[in-house]
Amino acid sequence: MRVTFTVNGRQHEADDVWEGESLLYVLRERMGLPGSKNACEQGECGSCTVRLDGTPVCACLVAAGQAEGREVTTVEGLPEFARRRAGGAERAAGDAEAAAELSPVQQAFIDAGAVQCGFCTPGLLVAADELIERKPQPSDADIREALSGNLCRCTGYEKILDAVRLAAARADETREVV
């Protein structure tokens, strides 16, 4: 079957999709968006976390056909998504500067040393970005709760928690300046 939906602001289409296929498979294997990672395929690890009409979900548990006509945001779209949320202007596709840009949450993960093997990182970024959007000054309990569906086997999580605190603190500073 054919499925059509919006990914990171652009309409994508995939043909010959098997009816039992997951949104994750379609994103990775048919739309050339391998940012969302495929690990447990049962919703345990959160490495495939994307936003479906704004809501964080495991892409491995959404049937491709269920995404028809809906809006998906993946880690590839985070910089643009964050820019637009902050009121920035839309940029043309292929803009070299835009391609190199990172969202504040991504930058915070790098600065806090929250990335080791990196496999869990895309899912964590999407979940953390949504948390800060929903709750700009999250408590430690909020952070733990929001990331409780994302497993990391390298870091022991401390640096990840640091990164989310850092991203939230920076967003706070930005708001004060404005």
Binding site: V62, Q66, G149
Partner: protein, 302 residues
């Protein structure tokens, strides 16, 4: 495989009548796992996400009508006052990502004995509204579970709503697992005090082939509270009374040994959860009675 995409409830019922083996999919948190792991290859997959009324809920005078696909996250955020036991249970489901998609209707459809919402539904009192092109049935939730991953739905029926009694007293939910998030219950327990009818109901999960109500324990406690005048006096519960309730709850279990825990552990843990949750709810009931002796709130005058 064929992907069915009914745009309305009527279309869904017609499709289910035409293809009785079609597997309904809403949040996908159970169904997609089975498909991803090749445990299931249904001829038809029927997407219920496009049917608006399944995502709606409504608070009535005595019950909450909960659409089958309302996600757990909404139960937690919006219905914690009316359905405190179910909201607590919902909070223990999987992770935020899972709670954003999974629903009570899906839990009932899968009918796993370990489903988190079952004990809370049993304790609160609930009816499953099942519909087919032939008509509508309201199935008391205790009659809905018929075996391990089996339920009372006919093959052409779909779950439309769950009608859950609004809390008229304190409710609690407790679950044993290895960590807080992403845990399938080793066993679970829910209790609801019903001061209006002066009864206590409970539900046990993952400690028998189906979720069960410990009826002997409920009857014992109901009678003991009544005879001892506890509802009116708001007195502290006698320890022997809580102990007897716990033992009867443990006795209602019919557990198995499996990877998550032994039968003996489950029986013991259910007893412990029964005693604790009874203590929590009773203290809350006492605390909500101003002065401790009047009968305001849910407790009717004797």
């Amino acid at each position: 495989m064929e992907f069915l995409r009914p745009a309305s409830w009527e279309e869904a019922l017609a499709a289910k009548a035409e293809h009785p083996s079609a597997v309904p999919i809403a949040g996908g948190t159970d169904v997609m796992v089975e498909i991803n792991f090749d445990h299931r290859r249904p001829g038809h997959l029927m997407d219920l996400n496009r049917i608006p009324e399944l995502h709606e809920w409504e608070v009535g005078d005595e019950t909450v009508r909960l659409g089958a696909s309302v996600p757990y996250s909404e139960v937690i955020d919006r219905l914690a006052t009316e359905l405190p036991g179910l909201a607590l249970a919902s909070h223990t489901v999987g992770s935020p990502q899972i709670r954003n998609r999974g629903s009570v209707g899906g839990n009932l459809g899968a009918a796993s004995p370990a489903g988190d919402s079952h004990p809370a539904l049993l304790a609160a009192g609930a009816e499953v509204e099942a519909e087919s092109v032939r008509g509508t049935r309201f199935i008391p939730v205790e009659d809905f579970y018929t075996g391990v991953k089996r339920n009372a739905l006919a093959e052409d029926e779909l779950i439309k709503n769950i009608h859950i009694k609004k809390a008229d007293g304190p409710q609690q939910f407790s679950k044993v697992g290895t960590r807080n998030a992403m845990v399938i219950a080793v066993c679970a327990f829910s209790i609801a005090l019903h001061p209006e009818s002066r009864t206590v109901r409970a539900g046990i999960g993952s400690a028998a082939p189906t979720p069960v109500r410990p009826r002997a324990a409920e009857d014992f406690l109901g009678a003991a509270l009544e005879e001892g005048g506890f509802w009116d006096s708001g007195a502290t519960l006698t320890p022997s009374l809580a102990r007897e309730f716990a033992e009867l709850c443990a006795g209602a279990c019919n557990p198995i040994d499996d990877v998550r825990g032994s039968a003996a552990y489950r029986r013991r843990a259910v007893g412990v959860m029964a005693r604790r949750t009874l203590g929590w709810t009773w203290e809350s009931y006492r605390g909500n009675r101003p002065g401790g002796t009047t009968t305001e709130g849910g407790a009717p005058c004797a």
